[in-house]
């Protein structure tokens, strides 16, 4: 298996100092050494009940509702996240919300973001450290160095449809894809990437699964999903973990695409809904 810290043939935009996925034990060690900021992206009410010891609360909505990138940087800075600290993000929704928050942090130029390998429920069921007291850190300033290489806009996606070698990847469930999708997009449901007891499968498995689908190293992949880029955010990290480096997230996804009146495609000749068992 190839090293995950080296480029897998694509354009390496910047080097990664920390793994994409952090295991609970490694996180506990980092927490003990105070080398990490842990971000809880669940709703504020959930955070206030209990959370991983020392974690700060940044609900996904706070990021999505910020009306400018400056505001987004401020949200992170307000919780004590500066430009360099290693950030580990977790959620309780299969990693999808965590992925979206982590991606946004990368998008504003933070180079050291990881996802916790398990959900909060799993963490709790393992009896690992939690607390209910809100963690407060001095506000800092997070700078804004927008990393446009990892974002795809509708225009950009539209321009890619006819280009060979670029893959538009729909990460919604299969039935949604069969019903309609961005023209020429391929489908890998987000659950394809999920592990049985972790938010993502192993790097080796992911690489095999993605390669089976004929996506080659160096090919550009743009992920999207139904609304705000959460499921496709998870797919974004799955692809990175699989060794793909040239990955973009169409963060506004199909919701924006359809609102702009852009065309979609259906998989013809399929009465598939009747198989869905309710």
């Amino acid at each position: 298996m190839r090293s995950l810290n080296t480029s897998a043939g694509g354009q390496e935009s910047r080097s990664r100092r920390h793994p994409i996925v952090v295991e609970p034990n490694a996180l506990l060690q980092e927490i003990a050494k105070k080398q990490v900021k842990v971000v809880d992206v669940r709703k504020a009410e959930e955070y206030s009940q209990d959370h991983i010891t020392g974690a700060v609360s940044i609900p996904l909505a706070n990021i999505l509702n910020a009306d400018s990138l400056e505001k987004v940087a401020e949200v992170y800075g307000n919780t004590g996240i500066d430009d360099n600290i290693h950030v580990v993000v977790y959620d309780d929704t299969f990693g999808a919300l965590a992925a979206r928050v982590a991606w946004t942090l990368e998008y504003i130029g933070h180079p050291n973001v990881s996802l916790l390998s398990i959900t909060y429920s799993t963490w709790k069921s393992m009896g690992l450290e939690i607390e209910s007291r809100a963690a407060v850190y001095p506000k800092v300033k997070h700078s804004l160095k927008v990393n446009n290489e990892i974002l795809a806009t509708a225009d950009y996606v539209n321009s890619c449809i006819e280009q060979d070698g670029k893959v538009v990847l729909d990460s919604r469930e299969r039935l949604n894809y069969l019903d309609h999708h961005i023209p020429k997009a391929i489908n890998m449901p987000w659950k394809t990437f999920s592990g049985e007891n972790s938010i993502l499968r192993s790097a080796e498995e992911l690489r095999r699964i993605v390669q089976n689908r004929g996506i080659n190293d160096g090919q550009e992949v743009i992920t999207y999903c139904g609304s705000v880029g959460t499921l496709s955010g998870l797919a974004y990290y799955a692809l990175h973990l699989a060794g793909y480096r040239n990955v973009k997230l169409y963060a506004k996804s199909l919701k924006e695409w359809k609102s702009m009146g852009l065309p979609t495609e259906v998989v013809k000749d399929a009465n598939f809904w009747d198989l869905s068992a309710g």
């Binding site: 449901p189 659950k191 394809t192 999920s194 089976n212 009747d274 198989l275």
Partner: protein, 601 residues
């Protein structure tokens, strides 16, 4: 008295059988790549794909239906969980129980099939020889081992036969597919509609009780169906495998390899005549016995079962959740083992979601004394060795995951093949029609009517009988006809089909019914039965009486019955009701489209 004192759960920790092989997974992935690179031709690839259990989806060869073999219908909790996991990742988040006890996963991208297989192999499952011209899943009655009428448990033998023929070079390229069905007893018996059907039997020979089987050969359903014939009165155990081997060898050697429409073994038997075929099989068996090594034998391992339940095993009378009595009446049967009950989980046309599969795994761990579930030819799932005292708890668990629908063992559980939802050969959406019938019957409470309890409704989307319409009280197979000058989805209706070892009979083609009138017609039949039955007569017997011209009311014979039914099947004009000319589950104009079948490799 608390429940704990009433009955003590004895649970077997069952290990999954190892049917799958990891190396086959890698090979499959590799061959798909070579096919995509055009280094392997379409036909060759198709053959390979089918031998490994991947069917092409309707009109969309880039998607597969992955058929998972489930020998004897046995699935362990870890297998249920894995099926849910691979369905979520690579299919549509649900699975389908087929009439031959397989589990089918639909809309799997061809390139992902190997990943589905990889997951399956981890828990011992395989898709090997689930399709193609080979020996398909070995079916065994879900009652085997618990049926009060059986001579002995056929399950270990069904598994041993499955094991013997899986990957066996002698059956990798038969003229066509080949099916084994094991029964428990005469009543729960599909033995006469299989290539080889086996019913456990015990015979007294020289004062000794000898175990063996009654073996039926040459049955099968399809465009032309035949009821299997008995090879000999009794086949002692040492001759069971030689008889099966002889039959397979003979079919492989002299079966029709030219005409795909007539190359199942039943045609061979029919064309040659039973007596000649029987002679040839017996002669071939002599050769098998004279030449086979003594090490060639069935590896029979008896099923481990929980010990008898404690003596007081009733539930508390106040444990009576809403709907429980109805479910108890229509979904459970006592086992021959005292204190234990078999509970059927009603599905809709065999569909179950991955969430339900996962929950069912937990339920199985908690409630099944034998540590597994069994899929059934009725497209339901049976949970066995449930303590009677546990039934109210089990029921409530099933309610919480939407699996407590009543009617599981009654006419309400209509069978429907996948139809136009995924099969190239289908003309109509039989799958959806079966669901519509079930919903209507449950709404009307017809599952509670004991007179029609044992009657059956089975629906196929084309004449090929995957829905087993020919053995139903009322069977339907899909077609297309012009009604009022407009093309409409229609069904040919058959009546009077029966299963069972001694009274198996194929249904008679009766009339043609538009898809949207099938429910009305079925209800009309039931209404007539109720009006005209004799005291204590069930629907099958009433129908058989009418078919013999001995009806006593307005339905005196088939002709008079047909007049009444045809009237109920009248469609309004397309102008009055455009919807009547569309198929269930499809709001567009009806078109009959088929493509090359995947049943034969």
């Amino acid at each position: 008295m608390s429940k704990k004192e009433l009955g003590k759960r004895m649970q077997i920790k069952r290990k999954s059988e190892k049917w799958g092989k990891p190396e086959e997974v890698d090979t499959f992935a590799e061959i798909v790549k070579l096919f995509r690179q055009k280094k392997i031709g379409e036909e060759e690839f198709r053959r390979f794909r089918l031998q490994n259990g991947a069917y092409g989806s309707r009109m969309r060869a880039d998607y597969s239906m992955v058929r998972v073999k489930v020998p004897a219908g046995i699935l362990t909790p870890e297998q249920l969980e894995k099926l849910a996991f691979v369905s979520d990742g690579f299919s549509i988040g649900s699975a389908h129980v087929s009439t031959r006890e397989n589990i089918q996963l639909h809309w799997v991208q061809l390139e992902d099939v190997s990943e589905v297989m990889r997951g399956l192999v981890e828990v011992g499952l395989t898709t090997r020889e689930a399709c193609g011209n080979t020996i398909r899943n070995v079916v065994c009655s879900p009652f085997a081992g618990v049926c009060p009428e059986e001579a002995f448990d056929a399950t270990p033998y069904a598994k041993a036969v499955a094991k013997f023929f899986l990957r066996n070079p002698m059956n990798q390229n038969l003229p066509r597919k080949f099916k084994f069905n094991f029964a428990c007893c005469e009543k729960h018996s599909l033995v006469r509609i299989a290539d080889i059907g086996l019913v456990p039997a015990v015979k007294e020979i020289n004062g000794q009780q000898i175990k063996g089987f009654k073996i039926y050969l040459g049955g099968g359903l399809g465009p032309a169906s035949f009821i299997a014939e008995l090879l000999e009165d009794f086949t002692p155990m040492e001759n069971v495998l030689p008889s099966c081997m002889a039959t397979v060898r003979l079919y492989d050697r002299i079966g029709n390899r030219e005409n795909m429409a007539r190359n199942r073994m039943r045609y061979l038997v029919h064309e040659m005549g039973w007596q000649k075929f029987q002679k040839l099989v017996l002669k071939e068996r002599t050769i098998v016995n004279a030449t086979k090594s003594t090490s060639v034998k069935l590896e029979v391992v008896d099923e481990e079962t929980p010990s008898e339940a404690a003596s007081i095993v009733s539930y508390e009378s106040n444990a009576n959740p809403q709907g429980f009595q109805r479910w108890l009446h229509t979904n459970t049967v006592p086992q021959k083992q005292r204190g234990y009950v078999m509970a059927f989980i009603t599905l809709q046309s065999g569909d179950i979601t991955s969430r339900q599969l996962t929950a069912l795994a937990e339920i199985c761990r908690e409630f099944s004394g034998e540590g597994c579930v069994r899929t059934s030819p009725g497209q339901s799932i049976a949970l066995r060795y449930v303590l009677k005292s546990d039934l109210p708890d089990l029921y409530q668990k099933l309610v919480s995951i939407g699996l407590a629908n009543p009617g599981g063992l009654t006419i309400a559980s209509a069978v429907g093949c996948t139809g136009t939802t995924s099969c190239n050969l289908a003309i109509t959406n039989s799958h959806r029609l079966a669901k519509e019938i079930q919903a209507k019957f449950l709404e009307l409470g017809l599952d509670m009517d004991d007179g029609i309890r044992d009657a059956t409704i089975k629906i196929s989307g084309c004449p090929n009988s995957c829905g087993q319409h020919e053995i139903a009280t009322m069977g339907f197979f899909g077609g297309a006809s012009r009604v009022n000058n407009t093309l409409a989805p229609t069904y040919n209706m058959l009546i009077g089909g029966r299963v069972g070892e001694d009274d198996a009979a194929l249904g008679k083609v009766f009339t043609r019914v538009p898809a949207k009138k099938v429910i009305d017609v079925v209800l009309k039949m039931i209404e007539l039965y109720k009006q005209e039955k004799n005291e204590g007569e069930n629907m099958d017997d009433w129908l058989s009486r009418v078919m013999n011209g001995k009806g006593t009311g307005v339905a005196k014979n088939l002709d008079s019955l047909k007049i009444i039914i045809d009237k109920a099947a009248q469609l309004p004009t397309p102008e009055q009701s455009p919807d009547s000319y569309m198929d269930y589950g499809n709001e567009g104009k009806f078109v009959a489209r088929t493509a090359r079948g995947e049943c034969a490799a």
